[in-house]
């Protein structure tokens, strides 16, 4: 789980928040309601998760309850059978 969180966090910091303090992005930072993950960024994240973990995500899995925080994303990835 922690490994997934680290990987996704690095992706989000590099891709969407360059120059921001990594300490500011915690496992519970709201990603969607805060505007970090807008619709286009969500599509980027989906592509990243699918490529990195070899999983396939469905449209309804872009919901805030599933990718709303780093913790949610890790939970979603592991629910697809990825071993953390």
């Amino acid at each position: 789980m922690d490994a997934i969180i680290r990987t996704v966090k690095e992706f989000i910091l590099t891709k969407f928040l360059p120059g921001e303090d990594p300490q500011s992005l915690t496992t519970s930072t709201p990603l969607i309601s805060s505007g970090i993950l807008d619709s286009l960024a969500t599509l980027d994240l989906v592509a990243f998760l699918e490529d990195t973990y070899g999983i396939e995500l469905a449209a309804h899995e872009t919901d805030a309850s599933r990718i709303g925080t780093l913790a949610d994303i890790a939970k979603l990835v592991t629910s697809k059978g990825v071993v953390a």
Binding site: L17, G35, A47, A58, A59
Partner: protein, 880 residues
């Protein structure tokens, strides 16, 4: 309560949608909170209650929103006090019960029960033990039946006033709920489902944010309860501020296209139109704030949308719930399907197009449930097409270049690049918004045509606005995390700020405080205290423009709120046999002689001359003085019985005066919706045949729309030729090629080009109206001169009576009074007769400001006094 629809052996998609009667395992926060409030929590709850009390006072003092909303707000406040001390596990069910109480409070037991019954049927259908696709098909079929009933094709299923609320509760939420049933692993509970569909604030808001079911469920008490409640009062306060700002814009800044004369006016009209949206954002803040009081920690509905830095950014900030709804049900499903076929770029383009096409159609769909009309207009189509196109382009650009995001806002830093982007986006959107809000494309083009007139002060205004826009736009005002620089001072704490703002609003309501700002500031502050209509809407209301149902789609929200209170089934003049068309006469229409009808619920009859009056001989009896009255509906007596018109009262009063030297007859030539031009024609057509000694004209206070409508119709029917001078004024205003032949084509040079190519075209009717409007002052001045001359020539004293509407207030001469005075009329104003008493005591109904019988009596008394006072000119009491 809907049945527990647990089915027998069922496919997986059926089992997933079973409603359970007990809540799912409560979240840790719910368990840990317990039933008893700690001392600190009790204190915080008391603060919230104090804030809600202040907010209720603000709502009442400023008459914000409707009386219904005020009652619902009081209910919410009382319910919050109980809710806050209940164990968390019971709070959701309690909220559902309060929501039902709200429905009963607003609609009464019978209509409320019908709303709930229809709603429960729809919800139960979502849970039928059949395949998901069958349930969707059944719901679609039920929607068609409800729509046919709403449109009047089928008998009404619910009462007229219930439709907008029923529609707003279910038209979008059903789709969201079905989506959750299909995809969310947690089964819904009965309490949660009922709370979701019937949520309390919805009962007084037909225009309601599309709350997402999953978010509604997920955020319920997902953090500290006091924090959620405090956020609720903060948003309620913000909503009230938005509504007050909206009222200021509506009353003091908004401009009708017909009033636009220069570039400065264009800028004002565009900005005002854009800022009118504050009403929606204000209402949505109030709604979300009230939901927070009951633990629903929902995200913001709007976030600094006037400070968007790109079109895409704007789409993300304005009406966020709608954006999320579209993302969930249109964008992502389309994208995930299309990317398999054509790759990410193509999928992105087409998914965005799907979103904006759906938004356009669903706006009309929403309008249908609210107003029973399905508007499909060119400005609407053009607006959504342009906005969608711009978002596509911007999204592709963002995909390529990325978008800078930040976690912390530094409000002390200013960026020129950001300032320019914000100012540019704001300008573009304000212009697009003006296109969306215009009545027609011709109106919008006409507005820009007026921008060619530039005055130095217009340029100064633009420079000042630009400087303000750049100064504000260059700062990042919001970010996910607040940039903390030490502890927050006490005066910046959310509870202190919210309480302070509410208290400040109450302070500026105190007259002595208002007067300290000077007469002008005090006047503006007082204007914010009631739900008054602006001058354009007031004129429309007085003229009865709204009485035709097909006009209702285009009414402003403010006027619509008044109009919709009117009970159904009331007829206007043109619906009765009393209405007689005079197509070949400049008059256009008048009253059918010896006819009767029920108008606005009152029986009206006409005499053999087509007057709503008792019978009179054509020849004036010896020893009799005659007063002829002309005017619109309030002179005809709309809303009162035959013997309750002010002409009847005046005649009685004059003849009861023992000191009067003659017998008096007061003849009523009033006809509903008559403009000053109709009255001119009525005088020429028949009034002088009755040998009046005095003719009294009455009208609204501004040369306005009804005169333009009359002129447009007269030009179209070529009856304006009866008055060559009037015809000449209209030609000078550029009116030509109308009625003409061929299709309508706006803009003179385009018509010239078409004609040069041998294509017959004509001026669009709307352009005729807009051009006639530019000549309105000349038309009115000429008509008053004509009437004064003709009256004198026929031995009658011309009198113009102002202020006969209970909503009229005293003040300087109105434009109509000035025109009348300059033409030689005796001008009298009755506006002071309404002072010092509640105006609604003299009105037919809250939705109808026409004078009632008491109002008519007051007008008769007022006019009598004025005629006595000015007898040196009127010659009615000392007939020398």
């Amino acid at each position: 309560m809907p049945p527990n629809l647990t089915g027998p052996a069922a496919p997986e998609d059926v089992l997933a949608t079973t409603l359970v009667m007990t809540p799912a395992a409560p979240a840790p926060t719910e368990e840990s909170a317990g039933a008893v409030l700690s001392g600190v929590e009790f204190g915080k709850t008391l603060v919230v209650l104090v804030q809600l009390g202040l907010a209720a006072l603000v709502i009442r003092q400023f008459q914000l929103e409707s009386r219904t909303f005020y009652n619902v707000f009081l209910l919410a406040t009382g319910a919050f006090a109980i809710h806050a001390v209940l164990p968390l596990k019971h709070r959701l069910a309690f909220f559902a019960l309060v929501s039902f109480a709200g429905i009963a409070l607003v609609f009464g037991p019978r209509n409320g029960a019908m709303l709930v019954a229809v709603g429960l049927t729809l919800i139960a259908t979502c849970h039928l033990p059949v395949r998901f696709s069958v349930r969707v098909a059944l719901l679609l079929a039920m929607t068609v039946v409800l729509a046919l009933s709403r449109a009047g094709t089928l008998p009404p299923i619910v009462a007229g006033e219930v439709w907008p609320i029923l529609g707003s509760m279910f038209m979008f939420r059903l789709a969201v709920y079905l989506h959750a049933l299909k995809h969310d692993p947690t089964p819904p509970t009965v309490a949660r489902t009922l709370a979701y569909f019937f949520m309390l604030p919805n009962v007084c808001y037909p225009l309601f944010p599309v709350v997402d079911y999953t978010t509604f469920t997920r955020t319920h008490y997902d953090t500290d309860a006091s924090e959620i409640h405090q956020r609720g009062t903060k948003w309620i306060t913000r909503g009230l501020l938005h509504l007050l700002l909206y009222r200021f814009v509506y009353l003091h800044l908004s401009l009708d296209v017909t009033a636009i004369r220069s570039l400065g006016d264009v800028v004002q009209a565009i900005l005002a139109t854009f800022f009118l949206y504050l009403r929606v954002s204000g209402q949505f803040h109030l709604i979300a704030g009230i939901l927070h009081l009951f633990g629903f920690n929902l995200p913001e509905t709007h976030r600094l949308y006037y400070l968007a830095s790109s079109i895409t950014d704007y789409w993300r900030r304005i009406n966020i719930y709608w954006k999320d709804f579209m993302m969930k049900l249109a964008f992502y499903p389309s994208f995930f399907r299309l990317r398999r076929m054509g790759g990410d770029r193509t999928a992105l383009i087409w998914s965005t197009i799907v979103v904006f096409a759906a938004t356009w159609l669903l706006h009309s769909y929403q309008w249908f449930w609210l107003r029973s009309v399905f508007p499909v207009t060119a400005p609407d189509l053009l607006f959504w097409a342009l906005l969608g196109g711009l978002v596509v382009v911007n999204s592709l650009r963002e995909t390529k270049r990325g978008r800078k995001r930040t976690l912390k806002a530094d409000k002390t830093a200013w960026s020129a690049s950001l300032a320019l982007r914000v100012a540019g986006t704001f300008t573009l959107l304000a212009v697009l918004w003006s296109l969306w809000s215009t009545e027609s494309i011709i109106d919008w083009l006409w507005m820009w045509h007026q921008a060619a007139t530039v005055q130095p002060r217009d340029l100064l205004l633009i420079a000042i606005l630009l400087a303000i826009g750049l100064a504000i736009g260059g700062v990042v005002w919001d970010a996910p995390l607040a940039a903390k620089k030490g502890p927050t001072p006490w005066y910046l704490r959310p509870d202190v700020r919210t309480t302070g703002v509410l208290a400040a609003l109450l302070v500026i309501r105190i007259p002595t405080v208002q007067d300290r700002g000077g007469e002008r500031v005090a006047g503006v502050l007082r204007s914010l205290e009631s739900t008054a209509l602006n001058s354009r809407d007031r004129a429309l209301q007085q003229k009865g423009y709204y009485e035709k149902l097909d006009n209702r789609g285009g009414l402003s929200m403010q006027l619509w709120n008044v109009v919709q209170q009117q009970p159904p089934g009331l007829l206007s003049l043109s619906d009765t046999k009393m209405y007689r068309t005079r197509a070949n006469d400049f008059l256009g229409y008048d009253l059918q002689p010896l006819s009767e009808g029920v108008i606005q619920g009152k029986k009206e009859t006409t005499n053999r001359w087509g007057m709503r009056d008792r019978d009179y001989t054509l020849d004036k009896p010896a020893g009799t003085l005659r007063i002829a009255l002309t005017g619109p509906s309030f002179t005809m007596g709309t809303g009162v019985e035959d013997n309750e018109t002010y002409d009847a009262y005046l005649e009685t009063k004059l003849n009861e005066d023992a000191s009067a030297p003659a017998h008096y007859e007061v003849l009523n030539f009033g006809v509903a919706a008559y403009s000053i031009l109709h009255q001119m024609r009525m005088l020429d057509d028949r009034v002088y045949r009755f040998h009046p000694d005095v003719v009294v004209l009455t009208d609204g206070r501004l040369p306005d729309g009804p005169i333009v409508s009359h002129l447009t119709r007269a030009v179209g029917q070529i009856t304006v030729g009866a008055y060559p001078e009037l015809d000449s004024i209209l030609r000078k205003a550029g009116i030509s090629d109308f009625p003409g032949h061929g299709p309508p084509l706006p803009i003179a040079w385009l018509r010239r080009a078409a004609k040069a190519l041998g294509v017959p075209v004509r001026m669009p009717e709307r352009e005729v109206a807009l051009r006639a409007n530019t000549a309105l002052d000349d038309v009115v001045a000429w008509s008053f001169r004509h009437m004064a001359q003709e009256a004198r020539a026929h031995g009658a004293v011309p009198v113009f009576m102002d202020g006969a509407f209970p909503t009229d207030s005293t003040g300087p001469d109105t434009p109509m009074m000035r025109h009348a005075r300059e033409a030689g009329f005796l001008v009298v104003s009755l506006a002071d007769i309404w002072n010092g008493q509640p105006r609604d005591e003299f009105m037919v109904a809250p939705w109808d400001p026409h004078p009632n019988a008491r109002g008519m009596q007051k007008i008769a008394d007022g006019l009598y006094r004025q005629l006595r006072l000015h007898d040196a000119q009127a010659h009615l009491f000392h007939n020398n």
